[in-house]
Subunit: 359 residues, 2 copies
Amino acid sequence: MTPVKVSLRSGAVKVVTDNKQVPNHSRSHRARPTMDDVAAVAGVSRGTVSRALNGGHNVSGPALEAVQRAIRKTGYVVNQHARSLVTQRSDSVAFILSEPQDRLFEDPNFNVLLRGCTRALADHDITLLLTIAGTEEDRKRVGRYVTAGHVDGALLVSDHAGSPLLRELKGRGLPVVTCGRPLGHEREISYVAADDRDGARQMVSYLRSRGHRTIATITGPLDTSGGVDRLAGYHDVLGEGDRRLVVSGDYTQASGEAAMERLLAQAPDIDAVFVCSDLMAAGAIAALRRAGKRVPEDVAVGGFDDSKVALSSTPPLTTIRHPLGRISGEMVRLLLGHIAGEPPAAVILPTELVVRGSA
Amino acid sequence: MTPVKVSLRSGAVKVVTDNKQVPNHSRSHRARPTMDDVAAVAGVSRGTVSRALNGGHNVSGPALEAVQRAIRKTGYVVNQHARSLVTQRSDSVAFILSEPQDRLFEDPNFNVLLRGCTRALADHDITLLLTIAGTEEDRKRVGRYVTAGHVDGALLVSDHAGSPLLRELKGRGLPVVTCGRPLGHEREISYVAADDRDGARQMVSYLRSRGHRTIATITGPLDTSGGVDRLAGYHDVLGEGDRRLVVSGDYTQASGEAAMERLLAQAPDIDAVFVCSDLMAAGAIAALRRAGKRVPEDVAVGGFDDSKVALSSTPPLTTIRHPLGRISGEMVRLLLGHIAGEPPAAVILPTELVVRGSA
DNA sequence: CGACACACTGTGAGCGCTTACAATGACACC
DNA sequence: GGTGTCATTGTAAGCGCTCACAGTGTGTCG
């Protein structure tokens, strides 16, 4: 029973523990007790066991107790596949992230959103399955998985316009709620979004009110609602004669840095920039610093998100807060309603300016 | 068909889009075509459709074509529950993270591990389900979910000794592979780990070879194999008369910072510290800097992981690299083997010292 | 020409569960 | 005592699929 070290390919060391008790070779799964076993032990019928399991209505006290005892004794666990086959429900929903996996880890927004959704769903005893669909191939696999009946609905995060995934899910009739406006599908698909356009207006107005004249913006991807709506807000505020400087990033820090460099090359006299995510703002500040500009003295920087980077950045970011906690809560509410048969709806939540050191 | 804005509770604005085409109210799911529908359209029997779907052996060319056409025409998607009910397989495995969700996002190791596993499983057309079991309650829910037959196996990451989750999964006979030695279960459970003890030895030996005399260590949680094994390696190298300074953290940056402060209070003359994760090392460096110590001139800092923080920290970290890519690959290999009926096994992979600026 | 192998196909028996539905017995009421 | 109500229970019909089995028709061989 002592571990045997065996050298393995390319320098690995393998320890094989040859345990004595018969390992659960092949289908030892088959030992799994079924409802009939429980019924037999409890001395009742399968139907009664089922009823006891599902709320215990119309089950007498003694029967209920007997069933519970039998369940403990046999170690019974319901077979979800069998149950789902008849109920057409799986009591789980997918959280689909249509982004390269790195972004999930880089962007704190996802963390907050994910946590919120998990929590809200747990209240309904529904499990959340996180699936990352970064590549085209992933999206296919996820699409197949999700439409195969594994989940009752899907929370779609950060989908880009024209992505076939949304169309496919919708085509299958799977309840879907997106985070952010589903460009081109606003009518048929439920969504929850912050009032991005208004948030952008608030920030740009604020920058103007502080006396800045040449206000640039670094947008998010223009195939997402966050990208286009915040840009629209920027244009809303700027007047006829104002100079408009627009560069796009993809919400990552690196892209913010690169965008800021391009902006600086284009117009060295910029005195404020509205950056459409905190992460990109952090990148922009790094680029400004490298160019010898002080923030906010030479260039004011406004962010968007009020994520934790806003606080850890130096100076801390003046930014727009969107209520991610409520967004996740509303997404879940909408999805569950949708699953229950309600028609699609949309919820727009207000944003708020948070003034800190960067502008 | 114009969106109607309706004010919602607590300041939200709700847009209700009343779309005309009948929304898939209640169980429009029921429109879902079954195998019999496909069979009818293709003019063959259910059995032939099934065979065509599962490899196409013993199906004639024309029949295969007819089935494929019928599938396209009907939009048929297999019902996984029905299939799983008979095959006892779900073609998906769970990636269970027994940590508060924050750590998933803070620690880049998980990112790398997750990506590796996803990729390795995708090659076998198996979906990976990420479940986060941060709280006790989460663990219960996840345990229930996983043992209900939703997945064929589980990859357990960062489980702590004595956690009931592992015991439960094992008790159900679910194939499990852990990342890191499952303390107290080494004999029965498959695992993949880096040679933590040897890695620690390499680092501490290196620090000694550079002339450092008072070498402290900041360990990981001592109920994880990474925690105890790296500490053991530290002790292995230190001799009789050496001073041993041990403080524990929980792998987070904040804990590294706090641990360093305690260490400094305890022994201001420390000239080197072996920190058991890069993230904690970054925290330690921050604490050292705050205390007016230069790294590496006054205090040398050695990390562990060779994660991306090792590069972004200043100075870049001298650290121990463990092959996360291979670890995830081996985990998947072991798990699939286990599912196929092989007995448990363990794989230990070598580590490597990477010298950079911090020591 | 019968026997046999072979490729292909249809049939039916479940997988483990939920859920009408019918059956049962206890009880109260007239 | 007859009858209706009610709670509780057992029974059986599937949910949509796979897979062993039993055909069916063809070609090949002695």
